[in-house]
Every structure is written in C-alpha cells, then in structure tokens.
C-alpha cells in the first residue's frame, strides 16, 4: 500500500490586494489578494520551508527519506540540482535519490506518480515530493491578478498514512500556452480560450474520468475533489461536467492566494483534506493536476487523518497571518522589478560555502565537553568560553528567543525592507547566534521575543545563490489551535 504520511503548505508572509494592482494601472478592480514572497525568498527557500515542516510536524527522521523530488518551473538554478540543496539542508541520507522535475505545473504530480510507482514496486519506503513556484506575471497585464507564490510538500510512504493512494491515470498533451522560453522572466500566453478549453478543461476531465473508470467510481461516491484551478469559472465547469457536488470541491484558492503554479495542486489537496466538515475514514478523494497533460489520483482517507491534520498548522490559518503590502511599489521592489542603484553585493566563495555547508545548512554547532556550553558556529573547533578543544559537534535547534537586538538602517546587503532587525538569539537547547529577522514588522521586535529560523537567499555574490538562515517571529499557531481543539 502507498499513502500520504505527512504534508505541509508554505505561505509567504505578504499579501497584495488586487485593488492595489488596479490602482497602479487603472484596471477594473478585482477582489481578493495574491500571496507574495519577501525579497529573500525563491522557489528553493519556499520548498525547503515546506519540506522541513512536513517532516517536523510528524517528527519524522530525515534519514528515513529514500528519495526527494523538487518540482518547480522557477527553480533558482537551471544547471546545478536544486533538490541536492534541499537534501543537504534536511540532512538526508547520502544514498537518497535527489531529482528536480521542472518545466511544467504538472511537475508535482509527475513526481507524485513516480513516488507511488517506486514505493509500490518496493524500491523505496519514503519519498518526499516538494513543489514550489514564484512565477512572474507580465507587468501592466491582468495576469498580475492571477499569480501567487507558494510551496507545498507531501511525504509519500509505504503505509496508508492519512490517505491511501489507490492509483492514477495520466494523459499528455501538446499545446503551446502558457509558456516561457529560455531567458523569459514572465509567463506568456496567446489565446486564453484555447488554453482553457482544449488544454486545461479537456485534459483534466480526461485524467479524472480515466481514474474514475479504472476504479469504477461514481460521481456520488466522491466525497472530496481537488484539482488544479486555472480560474474559478473553468474550475467550476469541470466539477459540473463530472457531476460533482460543489460542496465537496476544494476551495480553489484563487480569491485569497492566486495561482501558485507547480505548488497549487498540492495546496488544493491539502486544503481539501483539512476542509470542514472533516472527511471520515475511507472517504473517496479525487486529486488531479494540469500542465502539458494531466494526472489524476484516487485516494481514500484513513482514521489517522483527523489526528494528523490537528497536529499541523492549518493552511487557512497561515493565509490569515499574512502581512498586507503597503502598495504596488512594494511589490515591484520585492520582486526586483525596478532598477535601483547597483545593489550592494557581498563577496562570496563557493569554497567557503562548500567547506561550511554542514554548519550553515544544517546548523551544526558543538558542545564543550569541559565546561558544557553549547555554541555556534562549528568554525573554530574550540570552546569560546573556556578554550577547550575537547568538543562534540551537535545540531542546534532552530527556535529561540531574542537576547538583544538592533534595527539597522545601515544595510550592507540586499534588503527590500528596512530597518533590518539584527537579533542576538539564545537558541532552545543552547547556543547563541546572530541572525537578521525577516517577514516581520521591525517595530514589534523586542527582547525575549520567540523566534523561529527560516532558510533564505542572502545574496548572489560570486554569481551563485548564497543561502543562509534568518529568523522570523515564531508562529504561535499550534498553541492556539490546540486551545481551539480543547
């Protein structure tokens, strides 16, 4: 049997009201918001956030993972594997398969199919599928209303987990639209009607009908359906064609979140699994994704679903905690869509970054065996308190509280938001560290504030991506959710 063992959704910190896009360009006003990344985020950092939470929410040892797929149309590297970076940050086994699946919004479900196949064949036990996208819409076009940024991760395992995957049906299809050529920043489209009717609707229907026929599922038997949403109208058209009860349809996320590309299908599925009224064990779920063809899956929930969704920070709550962008100019600034003075690019060295990878990506510090003090970083191999060389490397926790801080207006790197909170942090379980804070209102920063760490793009010095951790205000989500449950 193959099932979903854990999942997570990553929602970037900012939202932009469509009204503000309309004001900027004098467009007809559209309702809702799109989710926007901070300037220090890309598909890889969002994917890492989702992947970390996916494992941590269920306290899964990263060494259990046999394969990891990173799925995106906007990966920061086109040569140099992105999944390898995630594997390093997650501290996966050296013999874990790492692969990038790119170039189509269907990448996520192509990876899911592959995960299913390898587990069903007994070749793997745990496969982590990470999907993320940060797509650029043509400025001064209504596509700016459409796209949102985000990520999701699904851990597929050899037991039923929260939902058993019974099987799938796929179709491929050739149609130019939407597309990006090598070097294009913005997604292009020519004739939306062809793309919607012949591409999206027909292929999604074919795949879903295929899996329903394979498993002899009637429309009535489907308790929940989640499939890629190109726009709310055609999303509804597919449900009508399938005679699905609209109440059983996943929220399409278009109004509040926008189309997150490769990540969208997983986000819709997760939303569907969390949606109230809660699904019961053995309920039938249809899940499909579109992009140069379509994949559809037949899932059945298990009795674990309820407990697992309770343990996760819910998608809807994360959406509710986004920070409102002041104006459209901020959006341009955060996405580097305006030319500013030459950015202050720090020097880098891939030699240093390679040598320090464990310390930088996996937060290795050490404990002094003489005086017992836990400390960071594992750069000088002797104790900062007593000088002893008798030390024991250890991985530090990525949560803590602020010991002291400053709000720095004199920045020496790329920051869209100033002042930059520079925070001296005492980590849970020991270790003191200096981190910049991101995704916050700087004026809310205070001593003793609880923080959590988030992996971000620091700069592109040396002409490569330099990633490291920042901190952000801790999400008090789980606590408040537990209170609700009580």
């Amino acid at each position: 049997m193959v099932g979903i063992r854990s999942y997570s959704v990553y929602v970037p910190a900012f939202k932009l009201e469509r009204k503000k896009i309309a004001e900027a360009w004098d467009f007809p006003v559209a309702p809702g918001t799109i989710t926007v990344t901070n300037q220090d985020e890309d598909s890889l950092t969002m994917g890492i956030a989702a992947a970390l939470e996916c494992l941590e929410a269920e306290k899964i040892d990263s060494k259990e993972i046999d394969a990891i797929y990173f799925c995106s149309t906007t990966a920061p590297y086109t040569e140099k594997q992105n999944a390898a970076t995630i594997a390093n940050v997650l501290d996966l086994r050296e013999d874990c398969l790492t692969a990038d699946i790119m170039d189509s919004t269907r990448a996520a479900t192509i990876a899911l199919r592959s995960a299913f196949d390898s587990i069903a064949a007994g070749k793997a036990k745990n496969v982590l599928v990470v999907a993320a996208d940060k797509r650029y819409a043509e400025p001064l076009s209504m596509y700016e209303y459409m796209y949102g940024d985000g990520a999701a991760a699904i851990l597929v395992s050899e037991d039923d987990g929260i939902a058993r995957i019974n099987g799938y049906h796929s179709v491929n299809y050739e149609l130019v639209g939407p597309w990006r050529k090598e070097g294009d920043l913005n997604v292009r489209s020519f004739e939306g009607k062809i793309e919607t009717n012949y591409g999206y609707i027909q292929n999604t229907l074919k795949a879903i009908k295929g899996v329903m026929e394979k498993f002899e599922l009637s429309s009535d038997s489907i308790k929940r359906a989640a499939y890629f949403c190109l726009d709310p109208r055609s999303y509804g058209a597919i449900a009508s064609a399938l005679k699905l009860n609209p109440k059983n349809l996943a929220e399409n996320l278009f109004l509040e979140h926008g189309n997150t590309g490769t990540a969208l299908a997983f986000q819709l599925l997760i939303g569907a699994l969390e949606k109230k009224p809660s699904l019961k064990p053995e309920d039938n779920v249809i899940f499909a994704n579109y992009g140069d063809g379509a994949d559809a899956f037949y899932l059945q929930t298990t009795d674990k679903l309820r407990d697992v969704t309770k343990a996760h920070a819910s998608f809807s709550k994360k959406l509710g905690q986004r920070i409102e962008m002041r104006n459209y100019n901020d959006y341009l600034k955060y996405r580097y869509l305006v030319k500013t003075k030459v950015p202050f690019v720090r020097k880098s060295s891939n030699v240093t970054m390679w040598r320090d990878a464990k310390m930088l990506n996996q937060m290795w510090g050490f404990k002094c065996n003489k005086c017992g003090v836990v400390q960071y970083p594992l750069m000088m191999k002797n104790c900062i308190e007593c000088g002893s060389q008798d030390i024991e490397p250890m991985k530090l926790q990525r949560k803590g509280t602020i010991y002291t801080y400053s709000l720095d207006h004199l920045i020496n790197c790329e920051y869209a938001q100033t002042p930059v909170p520079r925070c001296v942090i005492d980590l849970e379980g020991g270790g003191r560290i200096l981190l910049d804070m991101t995704d916050c209102d700087p004026h809310q920063v205070h001593i003793d504030m609880p923080i959590e760490m988030t992996y971000r793009k620091i700069h592109e010095g040396g002409n490569f991506m330099n990633y490291y951790w920042k901190c952000k205000p801790a999400l008090e989500e789980k606590k408040s959710e537990q209170k609700e449950a009580e």
Partner: protein, 395 residues
Amino acid sequence: MGHIRGGSMKDKVAIIGVGATKFGELWEKNQYDLLMDSTNEAFKDAGLSNPQEEIDAIWVGMQYYFTGLSGATAADAIKIYGKPATHVENYCASGMDAFRNACFAVASGKEDIVLACGVEKLLDEGSSGLPGFKEMGHPVLPLPSAPAMFCFAASRSFKEYGWTKEDLARVAVKNHDNGFYHPKAHFRKKITIEDVMEAPMIADPLGRYDCCAMSDGSAALVITTPEIADTFTNHASDYVTVKANALSVHTNTPWYKPSYSFVGFPSTQEAAQAAYKEAGITAKDISFAEVHDCFTITEMVNYQDLGFIPPGTANEWLKNGGPNWDGEKPVNPSGGLKCFGHPIGATGCRMLYEVTRQLQNRAEGRQVKDPVYGLAHNLGGAFTVASVTVLGHKD
C-alpha cells in the same frame, strides 16, 4: 578577570612632541597630505631639526586598505626611507596600538626616537557609514553595521538598567558642547537634547547624533626615553611620560558567546585593570579621560567598564554632570569621537595628542583643571579590541 602580566613600561617612555590635523571632511587632502601635516606639527613641537635623520622607526595605525597598506604609507608621506616602518591594524584601536608598539621600541632600548602616528582617509569611500563590509568576513554569516553592533549594548542596557534614549542624548550634547571650543574638531556646533531625539534613525535606538562623525584626519606623536627627552629644550620641563599601556583582545563575534552580557565590554574592563595596575593607581586617580565614544551608548558603557562609576549608574552620572568638562571627572573634553571626529586609524593617536596637551596645560579647546593622570581609551571591532593608555607628568 584574567591573568595580569607583571611587566611595566611606567616612566620609560616620554612624549616630546605631538601633532594633529583638523579632523573633518577634508576632501582636498589625501592620506599623505594628512600624515605630512600631523608629523610636521609633531616634529616642530618636539624641536627636531632633521627628522629624516633623527627618527629611528615608525609605527602607523590605519584600519582600511584604501587608506594604505604597510609602513611604507607613512615612510612615503614623510620620506623617511631605509628605516623600520610598520603598519598596525587593530580595528578602531589601530592608532593607540601603533603607539603601544612604538613604546616597546623605546622602552627596550632598541630605538632612541620613534614616531607613532595614525591616519584614515574615510571620505574617499563616501560619507554614509563605514565602508568595506562587503569585502569582509564570511559570505553569509550576518554582519551588522557598526552602530547596530553597539545597539546590542543599548537595547540590553535599556532593558536591564532602564536607561532611555534621552540618557544617550546627554552624551552627545556634552561632547558637542566641548568640541565647540576645539579649533581642530570636525563639528563646532552645540546641540540640544531635542536635536538628538529628533534626528533620523541610523540603528534604533541610535539616531544620527548618537553616532560619531565620519572624518578624515591624522595625528602623530614623537616619543623617546626620559633621558633623551631631558635634552630636548621645547618640553624638557613639561614632557609627559607613559604610566601604563594595555591592550585586551576578545572575540570578533561576541554574539556567538553565550555568556556575553552586552552591558559591559570585557576588553575595556581588562585593559583598564591592567593599566591601573601598571601605573600603580586606581580609577579614582584618573583626572580626566578621552574615551572611545563611537556611539553615545559606548561612552556610557565605558564609564562603567573603566571603573569610573558602578555598573548601571551612567545615566545618573550624566544627569549630575560628572563627566562634564568642569565635573567630577571630565570625559572627552576635546569633544570625543562624536564631535571631534573619528578617522579610524588616527583616533588613538589623536586622543594621546589631546591628553598630552591637557597635561601640559595647553589644550586648544577646553582645558581641564590641574590634571595629574589622563587616560585614553580606544575600542574597536565588535567590542573586540580595547586599548587603555595612562599618561602623567614627568617625575
């Protein structure tokens, strides 16, 4: 408190000539011009007739590579070739550490007459904050600006001692009030508490008036043994001697040290204790001090670290006028880094220049009354390097 070494250079080194340029935005001068000006003044003050012959060795403090590399920067500026010339870099303590190393040469008997000098040409890299961070350090480990580093002390002191931004402002107002009278100070303008409180933020809670000036400048000292000093007529009767000279170096990255309090800097504390021991005095004996007020918070922390007052009381001491020019123990009668300016490599030598002239009762700005011991304190990096020198009258 670590082990304090036993040796002493008390009264083994005499300062016979001092010189300093005006500090400020000296757009038309380069580092060679500045060094030439400060050393010419020092040579004249000492009464050297032929410095190229008489100077045996040079130590020059410079922090930034764009000011200069190697001792040749000073050798070129004053055309003293074929002799030892050494560049000292130790963050903001570069100048005072150049002086310390020069003292060793004299005290050991190796050299007779030595030049200690410092220079920095900051403005060539622009005036908005200290340059060069992009070239420094690790590719991704965070590097706050200098004011942000010192804010770690401010935020923590506000929390632990209840200090306020207004307490910080008193430091700036006092130092501007002093610097107003000094013809070589960068700024010659008095300011009010309101000016400080309303200035734009640089790194919360430090605003523009909480930060020292970005200045160009140079300072120089001619040193020798007391025996030789007696033979130079200009200051044969009033030359000052080095009573103590201490340097304490801590970590570059205190934010990785779990026990670091941020309300006091161990480097200053240890350098001060070592210096008092070497001079055979206590903090009480210090008549006045030039201390490293790179930021207003730094000066407040310094009062305590130097042992002038107990921890946590800097705000009260300021309110009571203790560090004022005519107070209990004047601090920064020159105007300090805040008002006089802070060309990094020059500052330590400039403080010693000021302390020397104060002790000789010929301060160009506000003269403190009947000083016996004058202290100079440099602090650099992330509170990493502290240098404390005590000067006093000849025996």
